[in-house]
């Protein structure tokens, strides 16, 4: 398989292992202490994921002439991410039965969901058209949902006491139905969890009496946040999709232990850190988007001193974009997964359904080229003769235009036939539109790249930022072939392409912190007429108490893995707003306690600064007072992370062995002699100008005629346009 160098005689110590168990293949990314890496693949084994995991690790280790027994004892960091959990949600199928106790009158909350759930996750045109909207199937059937009379208001006051007989009846009924988990979700329990806790007591008594093995999960303990629909979805997902994966994860840990490994397996979580497999909240390891790249980009930025980055990732099926400002990403507090809105913190990314595998078709009604939204994914295209793809894809167009070398696709692992690509483009696209083959292929690429450019511009300027303040980072197997096209004329400060673009997401997983994060909805007002002393004694105390509780939860999670408080770095965040506003902004607090006037003032000053930066000086309105709508605590513990290579700079002239050949390629309507280089043989300091194609093991970097690239000492390419 692909690896960073070809000399197998070097001794390697496998330090960092990151595994991505997908629906069909389990990919492994292995890195040694020198930052050299290799990749492995094996079929995913759904019955016992640990078998696929070991096979895939073996495949990677073989590149270094190591067996699993030899390699595993050296591991210092192992990060696992799998799709089994997400699949349970997508398929609405689980090994366990879940029952729900909910505030009486709210029994249909799951069924009604949110309006947005009838179209989230659909393509743009399906979101626009009402006839394609449909509410997803609820996770839990109605007969396993029981109402309990009780009511707590938005301020946490008890309006209707808990009817304990309703609880007993509901629990007995659910136990009669043989449920494995009982989820309890009462209105406003994030504010006051008393009724839920009392319900748990009663339920556990009955479960004990009846000798059942059912567990009880409370929404006020798991996800104490506003919005009952999202909260219920999330706790239910925890029981329905995440809990059944505990055994699988334990199997993985056992497999590591058996092979002599001493490292604790961690799982990638949506908030951008990794957590232990014994964590209480496992549902946050449900990840639908490729956040690994964002984590990698942030780490990359911290190490190389790039503060503001726009991250772009092109894979086979989608184009994903994210923004990093001052070395931190933004958090989406209500992400969508499997068409359900959840109440989890997730690294914010925008995703559009356009990638290198996107299908290209001529719309028969309008005679114009359309892309996607479906794609051939990892099946590449019609030119990949071993697959059964029948529709032309974007990659086929690149093959026809001579940008992609048919002999070198995925390092030659995937046979590609250029004649098939040309023939199919002619039949499916060029002939119906009365165009030449190459002209049509060029048209497809232009459409894709202008679409990506528009989406990218919308993500940056839509947030009120100017591209000139950002460096654009491009990665993903399909990224570098399009980078010049989709960044053209957008005015980024710089465009960066790491040589390991294809493995960047896996690199990111390895770079993730060991981090727990807890959030709680609050409604803490800081009225404008209070003195700082008064405010600190009231609101300051209240916020401090919430933070202390969350801190304790983080501490407890680390304790599960025998990590003490002194090893944890805490970070405190709030969502804050001026009183009466609808939207809050995310603020990292400079202090972890605000029970004194000085500390509270520091927090408020930070808020004002953040507000000024996001909106403007004129928009600030401190005279309205402030409200803190959410408090969060992040606890981070140091882990070993992948090294970013640093090499000595050489001259601008590439070494002779980096040059492979000169072949003709189609650039903007012309066939030009194009120099082909080996991406991995170039040396730091080398400079190249287009037209050129740089071929790597798992990616191709295309340099159009008006572009230049320079490889820096960290093996990162800097792409510029010559004007």
């Amino acid at each position: 398989m692909a690896s960073s160098e070809d000399d197998p005689t070097t001794q390697h110590d496998a330090q960092i292992l990151s595994i991505d168990a997908g629906g069909t293949m389990t990919d492994t990314f292995l890195m040694d202490s020198n930052g050299e890496f290799t990749v492995g693949k094996a079929k995913t084994t759904p019955d016992d994921e640990s078998r696929g995991f070991i096979k895939s690790s073996q495949d990677a280790l073989e590149d270094w002439d190591l067996s699993v027994e030899e390699g595993f004892p050296d591991l210092v960091s192992t990060v696992y991410s799998g799709t089994a959990m997400l699949n349970r949600l997508v398929e609405r199928e689980s090994e366990v039965d879940v029952g729900i106790l909910i505030t009486g009158g709210m029994e249909d909350t799951l069924r009604m969901g949110r309006g947005r759930q009838s179209y989230t996750g659909y393509s743009y045109s399906d979101r626009l058209h009402v006839n394609t909207h449909k509410h997803p199937e609820p996770l839990i059937p109605r007969n396993r949902i029981r109402g309990v009379r009780e009511r707590i208001d938005v301020k946490g006051n008890t309006l209707v006491p808990l009817y304990e007989d309703d609880v007993r009846e509901g629990v007995n009924d659910l136990l009669d139905q043989g449920v494995d988990h009982i989820v309890v979700m009462f209105l406003h329990s994030y504010k006051n969890g008393e009724h839920e806790h009392r319900t748990a007591e009663i339920a556990r008594e009955i479960i004990d009496e009846r000798g059942a093995e059912t567990s009880v999960m409370l929404s006020s303990e798991y996800y104490p946040t506003l919005k009952e629909s999202e909260r219920l979805n999330t706790v239910t997902a925890e029981a329905f999709a995440a809990e059944p994966s505990r055994d699988q994860l334990s199997n993985i840990q056992e497999a590591v232990d058996e092979q002599g490994g001493t490292v604790g397996v961690r799982v990638m979580a949506s908030h951008g850190g990794t957590i232990d497999i014994n964590a209480n909240e496992l549902a946050r390891t449900l990840i639908s988007g490729p956040i690994g790249g964002m984590i990698g980009a942030n780490y990359f930025g911290q190490k190389l001193d790039y503060n503001n980055l726009v991250c772009t990732d092109i894979g086979g099926t989608s184009f994903d974009m994210g923004i990093i400002i001052d070395n931190d990403w933004q958090i989406d507090y209500s992400p969508e997964m499997a068409r359900l809105l959840l109440s989890l913190p997730m690294v914010n990314m925008e995703s559009v359904g356009a990638g290198t595998g996107s299908y290209v078709r001529v719309n028969p009604t309008f005679d114009k080229i359309e892309l996607g939204p479906e794609s051939a994914g990892d099946q590449v295209g019609v030119s990949a003769v071993e697959t059964d793809v029948e529709t032309v894809t974007v990659t086929d167009c690149h093959v026809a235009m001579g940008w992609i070398n048919p002999e070198n696709f995925l390092g030659g692992d995937m046979p590609i036939d250029r004649e098939v690509a040309e023939q199919e483009i002619k039949e499916q696209i060029a002939d119906p539109l009365d165009m030449g083959v190459y002209e049509a292929a060029q048209g497809v690429i232009d459409i894709l790249e202008s679409k990506l450019r528009n989406d990218l511009e919308a993500v940056v300027t839509g947030e009120g930022y100017a591209p000139s303040n950002f460096k654009c980072l491009s990665y993903g197997g399909g990224g570098p072939v399009h980078t010049a096209g989709y960044t053209k004329d957008l005015g980024f400060d710089e465009v960066l392409i790491p040589e390991w673009a294809a493995g960047f997401s896996a690199f990111g997983c390895g770079a993730a912190d060991y981090e727990y994060r807890y959030d709680q909805t609050t409604s803490i007002d800081i009225d404008p007429d209070l003195s700082m002393e008064e405010a600190a004694a009231t609101a300051g105390e209240a916020l401090t108490e919430v933070w202390t509780n969350l801190e304790q939860k983080v501490e407890n999670e680390f304790e599960n893995s025998n990590i003490g408080r002194d090893e944890i770095d805490f970070q405190y965040n709030i969502l804050g707003q001026y009183q009466g506003q609808l939207n809050s902004i995310d603020i990292e607090s400079p202090v972890g306690r605000v029970d004194s006037p000085e500390k509270l003032e520091q927090l408020l000053d930070t808020f004002e600064e953040g507000y000024r930066r996001q909106y403007s000086e004129e928009a600030r309105s401190p005279e309205l007072g402030h409200t803190i709508t959410q408090a969060s605590v992040r606890g981070v513990r140091d882990v070993v992370k992948p090294e970013i290579p640093t090499e000595e700079l050489q001259g601008p002239e590439p070494p002779a062995d980096a040059y492979k050949e000169t072949r003709e390629a189609y650039w903007d309507g012309e066939w030009l002699d194009t120099e082909i280089y080996d991406l991995h043989a170039l040396q730091p300091g080398n400079e190249l100008s287009g037209p050129a194609v740089l071929e790597g093991a798992a990616t191709t970097y295309a340099l159009p005629p008006d572009c230049e690239t320079r490889l820096d000492e960290h093996r990162v390419h800097h792409l510029t346009t010559t004007e």
Partner: protein
């Protein structure tokens, strides 16, 4: 996208037997070129009379071509309402619910419109008594002629086929 779906798939579409994801795929994709003709064929096969269906008009109703050259609106039971450009509701049996009592036959208490503001009109086929349509309108509101298809344009410019006649269909 298939240029044309198999016959069974179209039958399932007509019978509402498709899974949501199949239906969703059909709606999201480019339209199959022969959808109209296929659906028309399925519907034609299911009625007991021989007049060729020109277009499906509403649930249970069709515009058909008569041997004398007229186009009429016809129910699947065989009852013929009127010419294709007339309002079939004028010839239907109509039940009007305009009192508390009549509403309570089908609504729970306090869940129906006030009879002074809204009345419910139920249109039945005089041939088979099938409920064909329901409208909820203000008392005194006229019977609106809701749909007058432009059959010539549809056939000549949209699907580019000749309009069926009894002769072409039996041939």
């Amino acid at each position: 996208m298939p240029e044309s779906y198999p016959r069974e798939h179209i039958e399932d579409l007509v019978d509402d037997n498709l899974e949501w994801n199949q239906l969703h795929d059909m709606m999201s994709d480019f339209k199959d070129a022969d959808r109209f003709q296929q659906v028309r064929d399925v519907l034609q096969e299911r009625v007991d009379w021989d007049d060729p269906i020109i277009i499906p008009y509403a649930d249970h109703l069709y515009v058909v071509a008569k041997p004398d050259g007229r186009w009429v609106i016809k129910c699947d039971c065989g009852h013929e309402f009127c010419e294709h450009d007339e309002n079939w509701k004028m010839d239907a049996l109509i039940n009007v619910r305009d009192s508390e009592e009549a509403y309570l036959e089908i609504y729970p208490e306090d869940m129906h419109p006030h009879p002074d503001y809204m009345e419910l009109r139920e249109f039945f086929c005089p041939g088979c008594n099938t409920l064909l349509e329901v409208t909820n309108v203000m008392p005194g509101y006229p019977l609106i002629h809701e749909f007058e298809p432009d059959i010539e344009t549809f056939y000549s410019e949209w699907i580019e086929e000749p309009i069926p006649t009894p002769e072409t269909e039996s041939a």
